[in-house]
Symmetry: none
């Protein structure tokens, strides 16, 4: 029942001295990270409604009280977890764009493909994202964080679509950058959701091909050779 592909290396944080391991006197930042990762795993496995502070602590091989010591309350642990995932996600697509060269089409494609990066696109993380989505309307703190993440991502995507169009990429049916971006964003969100229900080992390849197909459909001239 356990996911096979979840234990990807967490993103590096400056204050961590790699090479020491998690001994009893691990630094504050290391402990927080450790507990957040346990939280992600527990939510994916038991759902948000089945999340127990004791389960998080147990998975991190710590006493129950440590969660409250480091995060004060369960609610703040969840907020911190959402922030952690948001930041991780943001870094992922920003990094992808930065490494994609100068061509608008390449940058756009890199941003889309970042959603399928093994760092952020694990079944565990997808499950957690949707758990948060399901509670978003009930928790203002969640809603605000999710909306902000979405806004930033959307703005960047609109910019790249506009750049592609301006560079002569052309759009099918004279589609505007705004509409193209909305659709492309929805596309990757939907692909994530599909992965949530896919049986067996997670396979990101079909998703990548769907993205390529739709990029080619929307911007025929820019992506025809792909």
């Amino acid at each position: 029942m356990r996911d096979e592909d979840e234990d990807v290396a967490p993103l590096p944080i400056s204050s961590e001295r790699s090479g020491r391991g998690l001994d009893r006197t691990a630094s504050r930042e290391v402990r927080r990270r450790q507990l957040i990762e346990s939280t992600v795993a527990e939510i994916a496995e038991n759902g948000l409604s089945g999340l127990k502070i004791s389960g998080v602590a147990q998975r991190a091989k710590l006493a129950t009280g440590m969660v409250n010591f480091h995060f004060v309350s369960k609610a703040q642990l969840l907020d911190a977890t959402l922030d952690y995932l948001s930041e991780e996600y943001r870094l992922c697509w920003r990094h992808a764009i930065d490494n994609a060269g100068a061509a608008p089409a390449a940058r756009l494609r890199a941003m889309m493909m970042a959603d399928l990066d093994p760092q952020v696109c694990t079944r565990r993380r997808i499950a957690v994202w949707h758990a948060f989505y399901g509670e978003a309307r009930a928790r203002p703190a969640f809603l605000a964080r999710c909306a902000q993440r979405e806004a930033e991502h959307h703005a960047e995507l609109v910019g790249l679509c506009a750049a592609v169009i301006e560079a002569g990429g052309g759009t099918a049916m004279e589609m505007a950058a705004e509409r193209a971006a909305s659709g492309l964003s929805a596309l990757t969100d939907g692909i994530w959701l599909g992965l949530l229900f896919s049986p067996g080992r997670i396979d990101r390849e079909p998703g990548r091909q769907t993205i390529d197909s739709f990029l080619a459909a929307v911007f025929p001239r820019a992506f025809s050779g792909k």
Copy 2:
């Protein structure tokens, strides 16, 4: 803060003999429906983790014990709620296709647009779907139901895409029916998610336009005139 657009009329259920009024015999089904609608509203408002049987009962203006009387346990109430939403959703898109005439393109478009039907596409229901998605991996019963719903919907969509292609609709880049269907399905799922975070009154019009734009991009010949 309350949603404005939620109190759509519930779908008719066969076991209800409307010609006889709500006598004792019908009461059972009516009560169940009433409680399920309360459950949907409560989940949307408080999240799945905040769902209380007492809250459901209170919203339905019934005593707490009645929920257990009608559904035995909370878990069974949730299963029934998911079934109710699934059936409602299935009826919606089936009905849309049936009323769309014989042309493959029209039928495909009708099926896509059904996802934005005010019956199933309310913010309350979207929130509930995502709440279920977030718990799906943790609850085999949920996972099975969601996967099955998805499979049936996907099969129909693939069939319609194939029909459009066969009818000479053409695809951008020679896209296969399977891939087109996956992408289009993901597109509407993503549009739903977007509506979850949209502020103010829910607006389905941009979503419809995005769907039209992407249909035209994917099947240029079939949807060029739109």
Copy 3:
């Protein structure tokens, strides 16, 4: 170690149908009273810092959850307990004055002696009062309630002292009513405290004699014959 003299009959409350006993479906008011009396006993025995909601419930032969059901929180149980004792105390001295006839001196003496009435002057209740006093500065709700109770009692006492003086009772050293009342009030408060530490069965007789002696000292003409 158990107090011997504590189970005095509680003051009658209108909604109680006496003669039925505390069966399982006792009325809301009866349950609240029962739990408050348990709270008083538990505080006296274990101190305010040793008060456990489970102990209160156990003494009342109820499940732990009932305390929260009837009082929502421990803090509100304590507030209700303080209100109950305050009201009981107020009724006690008011009743004593009302039954003392018209003579100011007799009324004054009755009010003083009410503090030694077996209804309110039990070791259990004295202990509880001091437990509340000790926390008063820390809890605004307590402070307000205690201060108000004190103010009402003080005002009545000043009035009676003034009446005695006016009636020619005379005071030692021309003491003003205000000062006499303050001192007499302090006297009974101090007598209570003394009872808290007295060993063995509580004995109110010395306290009564001290009150009589001081009344005679302060108002020689009014109380000389006593």
Copy 4:
């Protein structure tokens, strides 16, 4: 909201060699004193039930562990605090008597007035005393200490009253020394309690006048000229 009159200088303790400064040898006693004063302040502010070892340490600007290091357990810290206050109180009235000359009436008055000495009569200390009183019945250690303090104080007071009577002070109504002492002791206890609830800056003057008035009432010949 903080008390204004609390930071009186603590009483000198014999084991401290003031001529040598606070070297390592003295440190132990200094730390204990520091922690006890913090305990008094914390009890006054949060009540005995709200007392946390971490709060005590924090106020003393020390690490939590230091409290256990110096007092082993919370219970022993409380015992030490009670002993500290008891000793402080005893020294206060003993010193007052010693400095009052030879006349019995003067010595009696000095002993009474010592209860209003700014050293022992601060709102903070009064609150702490009552916190201890409230728990006394629950904690044998407290009860014993309080009873002993009371006994010693009472014995001294009876002696002084007897001396005043013997010296021809006379009593109102031929009151016996024992009764006079009980009443006078109760009077000051009650005055303390009144100060606990007085709003604004603590004012000891009315209490002093009440004491003088009652002394004059009880011992007319000895205190008539006051």
